[in-house]
Symmetry: C2
Subunit: 194 residues, 2 copies
């Protein structure tokens, strides 16, 4: 049984106890095995990652890049795909760019390990980049790096307003606070960008 528990534990945040629970549930119910089979098949068939913004495409359409009604000169940068989903659900009108992580020198996650080059490929002097990164240490480091790299290449770098306590994680913020923070975004002063 242990080998199969090790496999299940590869899911983020699933420990020994949760892995056993999932194992026994799938073992006891063939219907749940079929359900999970369908989850995997559906994801493989209908979903893929957008190679422009790194959000997902469903049936080959990206909800950001393939929506021509969106403001093309505003790109909201987030760390994770789930953050982009949250941005989408909150009626943000611009585009998005998913970094797929945060800079972390302890874990040896450097700029080249994130989709930062791909962000640079998308920007020009017409573009406002809105940084919507977690207000954690790694999020702040990433925001600082991006602000300094972007300042001379774009029209404006802004960040979502801090209505969020320091140490907060975007994915857990309630929708209203997040919407507020997007609407009240503020331009970074040149000295903050140094």
């Amino acid at each position: 049984m242990n080998e199969i528990l090790e496999l299940i534990k590869q899911l983020d945040g699933v420990g020994n106890k949760a892995a056993k629970k999932i194992f026994f549930e799938l073992l006891t119910s063939s219907q749940k095995r079929e359900t999970f089979q369908k989850v995997i098949d559906t994801i493989s068939k209908d979903f893929k990652i957008c190679e422009r913004c790194y959000f997902y495409k469903k049936n080959n359409l990206c909800a950001f890049c393939d929506d021509k009604t969106r403001e093309q000169n505003l790109i909201c940068v987030v760390s994770y795909l789930s953050d982009a989903q949250k941005i989408l659900d909150n009626n943000f009108k611009g585009l998005v760019h998913v970094l797929n992580g945060e800079l972390n020198f302890n874990k040896n996650i450097k700029p080249e390990n994130l989709k930062i080059d791909k962000l640079f490929d998308r920007i020009n002097k017409e573009i406002e980049v809105l940084l919507a990164l977690n207000l954690t240490f790694e999020g702040e480091v990433t925001a600082g790096y991006l602000a300094s790299e972007l300042k001379n290449r774009v029209k404006k770098v802004s960040r979502i307003a801090r209505g969020i306590p320091l140490g907060g994680v975007i994915d857990y913020i309630d929708d209203e606070t997040l919407l507020d923070a997007i609407q009240n975004r503020k331009s970074l002063k040149k000295k903050e960008q140094e």
Copy 2:
């Protein structure tokens, strides 16, 4: 996306937030999709339910029923498969019988919905039945029902000693306390069985 979240939420204890997390994880990593595919395939191929005790068989062997060194006259009755696994891991020397649930009249779970008839098929006047049910309301109701049905059909009905606080759930008890409770099991007095 919502249809797929509904599928994922069919797993016990997985809410909206956890379902999104699993979805994004499987979406982002084809390696994790393959891992989960392997989990499902392995369970379907190597595991099935034992039709005698309702524990699982791995490669067609039940760790209880197919182990002839076990005490054949002692059957430990548990509510869930995970409880039986815990009993197995604690070096219990007898057999086991999984009821697949607890009596619950609010949820309309009656004796015929559990593997109680299958337990009656296995017993005789040589057998000691050890009730290792949760000390919750439903567990106690189930234990009371079984004690009264079993008392004239078996040699002895016992229950694991209460080293466990009322309201406790067996699956979360530490191993030592559980082992203790099995060793100190006590015979039910006739009047308790009425």
